[in-house]
Amino acid sequence: MPEAFARHRNFSFGLNADRLAALSVWLTATAISGLFLWLLADIAWRGIARLSWPFLTEPPTDAGRTGGIGSILVSTGLILLVALASAVPVGVGTAVWLSEFVRPGSAFGRFVRRSLTVLAGVPSIVFGLFGNALFCVYLGMGFSILSGGLTLACMVLPILISTCEAGLRSAPDEYRLAAAALGLSRTAALIHLLLPAATPAFVAGLMLGIGRAVAETAALIFTSGYVDRMPTSVFDSGRALSVHIYDLSMNVAGGDPNAHAAALVLIAGLTIVNTAAAGLTNRWLRRRIITP
């Protein structure tokens, strides 16, 4: 037996298919993380010099070459708030309907799912033009944070719905059966068992959605506009962070240093939100004892 084992070990020192496969997956993984680190290091390297408390709080001056991004951050936050406040209820509702109420093989259910798949693949510029036509012009909201937020909501809905639906579906059928057998109403089973079970998946989807929304430029240029003043309400036009970065690096000569600093803020913000959401979800789940 030890002999056979040794032989096997010796054999594996050569370059066989297994080792080749292992090597290549290691290489690709390293390449991906290397790319990410490079990007991060580059932005941090160029941006960190400009980063300061005044940069975060003061409004931009001289088309953004100098000054800070205070008003931009407020606009971005408001746009995101509008987007989530409208997308989350609609998303959860649709996901619940798709996973709990649609009979398998229902034509309407199939239609809704197919629409979502198509919507998920629509380029954001199309969402921007659609948002402009619907919210800015037809509904008369003009270039405003409200229009931008609602457009983003349309854009992140597909991803929100499909992750939430997947989360609900992954809740074991035993919960549904046991709940029904105990005379629990469908609503009670949803609120107490199924939605909590779907929460991790939903939060993951939410994070993807927020990431996509915060990074969005094309859909916002046509809807929330690019006025860089401090907004006074959601009916004001407001410039999102990604639009600001785009504008600084493409249209403003000498805007690059501030563009890098703004990009660093964007990435840092996303990282913080992601980590916080994961941590909070875990704590909440443990308190509800979903996980033992």
Binding site: E174, L177, A178, L182, G183, L184, A197, I290
Partner: protein
């Protein structure tokens, strides 16, 4: 008093002695059927047929389930025993394309009545599944969630019912220190007893059990079996089991299901000892002696 049923005072009382007289671990002739058997039907099933789509899964089942007795349903897999159980608490409603015909009466209640409050029915007719299905909540919340849903909200009352139910299934001493710990951390046998406690907490009249021991190890299975036996006389129990020895040990009545032309049907129903000792049907004889199935 139960809202759905009539007088409870006539419920037969099983004497422990009658059940325990036979050693539960030998297969010798069992003096089956405690003297609960002044049989009084609680559930009457007539000409029950059940279809999944156009295909019948169960055909022309007629039998009575007696109050306070344990009725075992035996037979090979796929002969519709579980479907039969699901008819009794209308869990069949949840299955798309499932259609049930025939007359089923539970006490004075018509189970097909469209105006029937299914939630109340299911409170009266509890069900235990093959795989223990505790909710991913604390032990306490597992019991309280259905109670609250059925309108029990007073803290003192909740605590009382919780302790009583856990004592009934012999789980109290094992978990009283950790009621707020996750129910998923319990062992399989404890989880199954928790599920039984959860059903008992609602004070049901009927308990349906779908192979409640088959996912458990022999020791836990024995504990749960003793528990089921102790329910005799206090609840009406219908249990599906593939363990013939178990059916023989615990049941007062037994029904033998078989598949005929790809649809399940009831071959024979009677006192447990009669089914096992002197079956009238050749198929039953072959099945209980291990010749078929």
């Amino acid at each position: 008093m139960s809202p759905l049923f009539g007088d409870e005072s006539k419920a037969p009382v099983a004497t422990e002695a009658a059940v325990d007289s036979a050693d539960p671990y030998t297969l010798g002739p069992l003096q089956a059927g405690p003297p609960c058997c002044d049989p009084e039907p609680l559930i009457r099933v007539e000409d029950l047929s059940l279809y999944y789509g156009p295909k019948p899964a169960l055909e022309d089942v007629t039998l009575d389930i007696y109050r306070g007795c344990i009725t075992a349903l035996i037979g090979p897999s796929g002969c519709g025993k579980t479907s039969f159980l699901s008819v009794l608490n209308r869990l069949t409603d949840l299955i798309p394309g499932c259609r049930v015909s025939g007359r089923i009466r539970l006490g004075t209640l018509d189970l097909h009545d469209p105006n029937l409050d299914v939630q109340t029915l299911r409170r009266e007719v509890g069900m235990i599944f093959q795989k223990p299905a505790p909710f991913p909540l604390s032990i306490r919340r597992n019991l309280e969630l259905p109670l609250r849903e059925h309108g029990v909200t007073k803290r003192s009352e909740l605590d009382g019912v919780l302790e009583q139910a856990l004592r009934d299934v012999g789980l109290w001493d094992e978990v009283k220190e950790r009621l707020d710990a996750s129910a998923l951390a319990l062992s399989g046998g404890q989880q199954q007893r928790l599920c039984i406690a959860r059903a008992l907490a609602l004070k049901p009249r009927v308990l349906l059990m779908d192979e409640p021991c088959s996912a458990l190890d022999p020791i836990s299975s024995g504990v749960v079996e003793d528990l089921i036996r102790s329910l005799c006389g206090r609840y009406t129990v219908v249990i599906v089991t593939h363990n013939l020895a178990q059916a023989r040990r615990i049941a007062n009545y037994a029904g033998f299901f078989w598949v005929r032309e790809r649809a399940g049907c009831l071959i024979e129903f009677g006192r447990c000892h009669q089914i096992f000792e002197s079956p009238t049907h050749a198929l039953t004889a072959a099945y209980v002696s291990g010749g078929r199935g």
